[in-house]
């Protein structure tokens, strides 16, 4: 992946070269009109929808936790764990994520409001809202601004230099997926950069770190102390603890996959920092259109992804109620066609595979994967070993060689 701006310089296909300023402005107006249509028709049935989802999730959680009181009995363990996993996913995705976006603030219900909501997740809502709503949604896919691109620790773009530590990226990425909620909490805390800049004594950081630790303590007490303890009478302490841990991991893997699908699959564009100086509303819209990818699938899939399967629509209109994304998707897709832009939508297994393929490809030096086949694998591995163990000069020289070979291959094809 190369930023849209570099593609233009390198002579690669720039996906927005054909759009004039007037086109982009017009596109913005047409998207505004789609948004306004939803605002005008937003009402009682939408409110009933979110209340129904919340009601279902809470009853599912109650029911699953009740079943888990008897989790020493294997069928109860399976049923309870499954129910609790689904309940936690609904809590985080369709309910929490979207309420914290302010999608339901218009109802003026103090109990379902972005300023009061808290969720079943390690990161406190307040901190997540800052890093997600303000930074990620404003600076979507701008290298160096949008930390969601690799959470500030991964190599997500060919233009970022390859280092031997990049090789560990797939393993790291998997561990992050398993413990995703803690990864998000650390990320919202900007833990990496705070440590790098030696700002751990900053009082504001201390305050926020305390908030996170408090939240984690409460969450862990609930899942790993209180509910297992309540299961003691049936001899289910350990099974319940294991069930809650499993449900948390299932939720983590699922939400990580959905989020990878949103901005990581091949075909999603990135942008340079400079390119957003003085960006117009229309240009912002175009960046959201090209910087997001959808997952196609059933109604159940849309619900379980919190409608982030409509990531493109969500990024264009983050404050519209999530239950309306499906309805506007065809209109948005028609605009992509009208303005000759690529609407990136594939089924979930393909999007996940594409995202992981990219994680692995970028963990290797540029061009390495493209130039490797069964026959030359031993030599290629030797090159990789040299690059991983050699000094910076060796890396640069071998890296250039790989890149030029892969370009030659590309031209021949």
């Amino acid at each position: 992946m190369t930023t849209v701006q570099k593609k233009a310089v390198l002579g690669q296909a720039n996906p927005i070269a054909h759009l004039t300023d007037a086109d982009i402005e017009q596109l913005g107006h047409e998207l505004d009109a789609i948004r306004q249509d939803v605002l005008d028709s937003r009402g009682a049935s939408d409110a009933a929808y979110i209340r129904k989802v919340i009601d279902t999730q809470r009853k599912l959680e109650l029911g699953s936790r009740a079943v888990l009181l008897f989790s020493a009995f294997p069928p109860a363990w399976v049923l309870g764990t499954l129910g609790l996993s689904v309940s936690k996913i609904l809590d985080n995705m369709e309910i929490g994520h979207n309420i914290l976006h302010g999608q339901w603030d218009w109802m003026r219900d103090p109990k379902i409001h972005s300023s009061t909501w808290e969720w079943d997740m390690a990161s406190p809502a307040e901190q997540w809202k800052h890093s997600h709503n303000e930074l990620h949604h404003t600076y979507t896919n701008v290298i160096g601004k949008d930390n969601d691109l690799g959470y500030g620790i991964m190599r997500v773009d060919e233009d970022q230099p390859w280092t031997p530590s990049s090789l560990a990226q797939p393993v790291f990425c998997f561990i992050n997926a398993v413990f995703f909620e803690y990864g998000i909490a650390a990320y919202d805390l900007e833990l990496g950069s705070v440590i790098a800049k030696k700002q751990t004594k900053d009082p504001d950081f201390r305050r926020r770190a305390k908030q996170v630790l408090n939240k984690i303590r409460k969450q862990a007490t609930k899942d790993y102390v209180v509910h297992p303890a309540l299961s003691i009478p049936t001899g289910s302490f350990l099974p319940t603890l294991a069930a809650n841990f499993t449900a948390n991991v299932v939720r983590n893997l699922w939400s990580n996959s959905v989020i990878l699908c949103g901005h990581f699959p091949e075909g999603v564009e990135t942008f340079e920092k400079r390119s957003i100086d003085g960006e117009t509303k229309g240009e912002w819209y175009v960046r959201q259109m090209l910087g997001s990818a959808n997952i196609s699938g059933s109604k159940a899939l849309h619900l379980m992804t919190g409608n982030l399967s409509h990531q493109i629509e969500h990024h264009l209109f983050p404050d519209l109620p999530s239950n309306r994304y499906a309805e506007i998707a065809p209109k948005v897709q028609a605009l992509f066609e009208k303005y000759d832009l690529t609407y990136c939508a594939r089924p979930m297994p393909q999007q996940v595979a594409s995202a992981w393929h990219k994680v692995i490809r970028l963990s290797l030096p540029n061009g390495w994967m493209a130039t490797t086949n069964k026959k030359n694998a031993p030599q290629q591995l030797a090159i990789l070993y040299k690059m991983a163990t050699g000094d910076r000069r060796t890396r640069r020289l071998l890296g250039r060689k790989l890149e030029s070979e892969s370009r030659a291959l590309g031209k021949a094809a």
């Binding site: 079943d120 709503n133 912002w284």
Partner: protein, 376 residues
């Protein structure tokens, strides 16, 4: 000298401590939610819940007015006739708060009622009269208001106009319950000598007119009904012609601002006592720009095109902010009173104290649309 004993709550100190422990365990088991969030799913009207009520029945009074009978939650503290109630109901999915007079005295079955007249453009009143269905859960606040009759009795004049009759009907129903055997004359009501001057556009448009006429026929009150179409608009200077012993009576009035202002001026000149009740506060039509005052004391004169956030920051205020383009909700502040205009689509949001309550608005994409007050 007197000694006050603390009322005993919930048994012995020991059982109370146990109760506290149980609550703490329940909270630890439900975090980040509260045990109440789960209990509300099954028992929204239980004791200890936020005060709510369930609409039990809706009785049409006239073509555009209806009485709504509500079963209040267990923590309803009761009311005195003449008091009003703030009720929050979702109209088109949006929570709206309004105040209505309670139209029954305390009832034996524990239900409460309000009578609502659908006013033109009235979002909530039209919804309650025409759309609301029994079974709907509504949000309530405890009864409030000083517009009540002294229990000791006395001579009163009640001047009511239109739906201003509602608090008065509550008082009268409490004093003179209407039964199948006719209007009851209870001993506690004997001390009340009441004249009602009721103003309405016409006889058919008058809510509760049959109740008033029945009370008049039974001799419980004296009714002076004035209909605009028959008698012309009431001139308060002629009040003494309608009520000769005006000077001996304490006046209670409820109606639109114009009538109340005229009465206040009249009674002031004649040195008479007056208690008034008015629900609809004067509304300012949304305009272009206006004076924005903040709770911190800062006041800014704004045009209709500058976001409140930008203006407040240029004036040196420390404001919460985020994306500055209307997506992140990082800048929302409570608008206590007044109107703001969404610069993206022109949508107006209006907060009316005592009705809508404070509404949280995004300051980064809203400009002043008339004078407004922001809690910050």
């Amino acid at each position: 000298m007197s000694t006050t004993l603390e009322p005993q709550v919930g048994g012995t100190p020991r059982s109370r401590r146990l109760g506290d422990h149980l609550v703490r365990v329940a909270e630890a088991a439900t975090t980040p939610y509260l045990p109440a969030d789960f209990l509300d799913l099954f028992a929204p009207l239980r004791s200890g819940a936020d005060l709510r009520g369930r609409i039990e029945s809706i009785h049409p009074e006239t073509a555009d007015a209806a009485t709504i009978v509500i079963r209040p939650g267990a923590d309803w503290a009761g009311h005195v006739p003449g008091q009003y109630l703030r009720i929050g109901i979702d109209v088109d999915g949006v929570r709206q708060w309004r105040a209505y007079s309670l139209t029954h005295g305390p009832r034996r079955d524990g239900r409460i009622s309000i009578t609502v007249k659908a006013v033109p453009e009235g979002l909530v009143s039209n919804h309650l009269v025409h759309e609301a269905r029994p079974g709907t859960v509504v949000h309530l606040e405890q009864a409030a208001g000083e517009f009540v009759l002294p229990p000791a009795g006395g001579k009163f004049l009640m001047v009511t106009a239109g739906s201003g009759i509602t608090p008065v009907i509550g008082m009268l129903r409490n004093l003179f319950p209407s039964t199948d055997e006719g209007v009851l004359r209870l001993p506690r009501s004997a001390m009340h000598d009441i004249v009602v001057v009721h103003v309405a556009p016409s006889h058919p448009h008058s809510i509760f007119i049959r109740d008033l006429e029945a009370l008049d026929a039974a001799g419980a009150i004296r009714l002076v009904a004035r209909y605009d179409d028959e008698h012309g608009v009431l001139d308060v200077d002629h009040l003494a012609d309608l009520v000769p012993d005006l000077a001996e009576r304490a006046t209670l009035a409820c109606g639109p601002a114009g009538l109340l202002d005229a009465l206040a001026a009249h009674h002031d000149v004649h040195g008479l006592s007056l208690t008034t009740e008015q629900f609809r506060t004067a509304r300012v039509e949304p305009g272009d720009g206006g004076t924005v005052s903040f709770a911190s004391g800062t006041t800014l004169e704004l045009d209709g095109a500058t976001p409140i956030l930008d203006a407040a920051e240029s004036a040196g205020m420390l404001m919460p902010s985020g994306c500055r383009m209307g997506i992140c909700m990082g800048c929302v502040l409570p608008l206590r009173e007044g109107s703001v205009r969404d610069l993206r689509n022109g949508a107006i949001t209006t907060a009316v104290p005592g009705e809508s309550g404070a509404i949280k608005v995004q300051t980064c994409i809203n400009a002043a649309a008339g004078p407004c007050h922001i809690d910050h």
